[in-house]
């Protein structure tokens, strides 16, 4: 693996690692890691450092939905311009162009069911190039971003083994 891949593989799982420790683990100078990180931020290879939150465990209500959207691509710009119109809404979490039975997969976060429904009917469906939508509410998250949401198991190994 080249250095960039090693750094990315590591920080994709733990972006809060101490730079010094990361350098030690990769067997390079701290400056090397710092420079690579900076360059990759510059090149927008690293697009952000986010926190994975299990909102279920808080008192804050959130509703998440996956919306399948069929659209008419626009001349010259394909799906990009409609995608842009959709992703600019702050309540939209992610927009993916999808192969298969529909075109865009939109993930949405709202405070209530009603809020999500309203967004779909008032904003999304009314876009000129949107042909149809299908809204799927997320009932429970088991795993997200490669991380199992349930609390990890304790170390069940014996304290000492030879």
């Amino acid at each position: 693996m080249e250095m960039r891949e090693k750094i990315l593989t590591f920080i994709e799982k733990n972006s809060r690692v101490d730079l010094k420790d990361l350098a030690v683990m990769l067997g390079v100078e701290e400056a090397t890691v710092a420079n690579e990180l900076e360059a990759m931020e510059e090149e927008h290879i690293i697009c952000g450092y986010h926190t994975l939150v299990d909102w279920e465990k808080t008192s804050i209500e959130k509703v998440n939905a996956l919306i399948e959207v069929r659209v008419t691509p626009q001349r010259g710009r394909g799906f990009d311009s409609v995608a842009e119109r959709v992703y600019n809404y702050p309540e939209v979490n992610a927009v993916y162009l999808i192969s298969g039975g529909y075109d865009l997969l939109v993930t949405l976060e709202g405070k209530t069911l009603r809020e999500v429904a309203q967004f779909v009917s008032d904003k999304l469906s009314t876009l000129e190039s949107v042909l149809s939508t299908k809204t799927n509410f997320i009932l429970k998250k088991y795993k997200d971003h490669g991380t199992v949401i349930a609390k990890p198991q304790d170390d069940e190994r014996m304290l000492v083994s030879l």
Partner: protein
């Protein structure tokens, strides 16, 4: 009532860490660096194959030597990874962990009076297994200045007219030492010259950080005098599945198989089906775990340097073997005090032979967070002792 016990068995001591384990088990908030197994779970696709085999009702014995399918895959794997070829049908058997294979090899090869050379520090089972097989264990004390590798000179000095077998435990538990090709070539010459056999325990063979592991069986003239032992426990994080294997020339293997047939029957069937998946599709998992261990290894050694703790750089397994002679305590004393005062478990080097005195075995089969916490505590302990001197 008569004494129900065999004197020979009673004479074999229990392994030295029991006391330690008992103290630690009673304490709260203990962090352990004392574990000799991976912290990863067995990769899911491997577990899944085990489950699937149960669902299919594959719950009968396999043939004594093990599933043909598994042996064929292992033969391919050994060629691919270690450049040795074995006939899966006559030169290979599946065992209950590498441990069983060690026992079988000793029993198949030793007669009363035969001397077995056992380099130490090393895994605890070689000496008792040699004794159980009526052999005479002869210890070779490995030296820190050689990074705990076995040198041709040390080997030569230990050989007598009765020497028959050399145990070669590399990559090594507890030191993390490896034997590179040049080291193996040097001892191979002595082995051939004195017509010895080798029990090569390569259970950590996938876990090396300098270069790819070389098996002594791949050197010219060595295959016919080597019993190669490996298994799934360390490479694929499968300790609880209890699955290993032995490869040896037919004359030796068939005698090992005879003992296995009467004593064990066959290795666990579920584990064998899971292992087929491991050896067939597990290379990427091994590479990923290796990368992870390597990062922790570097971190650990770095911290030892920062603490001013002397430790040669280990290039194998997942252990480091720092020297604590500067503190004027025995390994046992140091480990006991560190457990009582800082609640960190490490294993005294003496658990692996008398020449482990003055050393500790530190395992890095732990997450970085755990490692960090334990090393912080260890650093505090060391600072305290240095100040009180």
């Amino acid at each position: 009532m008569r004494n129900p016990l065999s004197e020979r068995i009673v004479d074999i001591p229990f392994s030295g860490i029991r006391k330690f384990f008992d103290i630690a088990a009673e304490m709260q908030d203990v962090i352990s660096l004392g574990v000799g197994e991976p912290d990863f779970d067995t990769p899911w696709h491997i577990r899944d194959e085990g489950i699937y085999s149960l669902e299919k009702g594959r719950t009968a014995y396999t043939s004594n030597a093990g599933l043909k399918e598994l042996k064929m895959e292992i033969a391919k794997y050994l060629e691919r990874r270690f450049e040795v070829s074995y006939d899966y049908d006559t030169e290979m058997m599946i065992t209950v962990g590498g441990s069983e294979a060690i026992d079988l090899a000793m029993r198949a090869m030793l007669d009363p009076g035969d001397e077995v050379l056992i380099p130490q520090p090393s895994y605890v089972s070689y000496v008792p297994c040699a004794a159980l097989a009526n052999g005479t264990p002869v210890i070779i004390n490995l030296q820190e200045e050689n990074e705990f590798r076995l040198t041709a000179e040390e080997l030569r000095n230990a050989i007598t007219s009765k020497t028959k077998l050399l145990v070669l435990p590399f990559p090594n538990n507890p030191t993390g030492a490896i034997m590179e090709r040049k080291d193996l070539e040097a001892i191979a010459e002595v082995i051939i010259e004195h017509d010895l056999f080798v029990l090569s325990d390569e259970i950590y063979g996938e876990l090396t950080y300098l270069d790819h592991h070389v098996t002594i069986a791949s050197l010219p003239g060595m295959r016919e005098r080597t019993v190669l032992i490996n298994g799934f426990s360390k490479a694929y994080a499968m300790t609880g599945w209890r699955l290993g294997y032995a490869c040896a020339p037919k004359v030796i293997l068939e005698q090992m198989l005879k003992i296995h047939q009467y004593a064990i029957m066959c290795a666990p069937t579920t584990s064998q089906y899971a292992a087929v998946e491991a050896v067939r599709n597990g290379d990427a998992d091994v590479a990923q775990m290796l990368e992870e261990y390597n990062g922790r290894r570097r971190y650990l050694i770095h911290r030892f340097r920062e603490m001013g703790l002397s430790c040669f750089e280990p290039f194998g397994a997942f252990y480091a073997f720092p020297c604590i002679k500067e503190f004027g305590m025995s390994s046992d004393e140091f480990a006991t005090r560190m457990l009582q005062e800082e609640k960190v478990v490490v294993v005294p080097g003496t658990a692996f032979g008398d020449c482990g005195e003055g050393f500790l075995r530190i395992s890095y089969a732990y997450s970085l967070e755990k490692l960090k916490e334990a090393l912080d505590r260890m650093e505090g302990f060391i600072t305290k002792i240095r100040q009180s001197k």
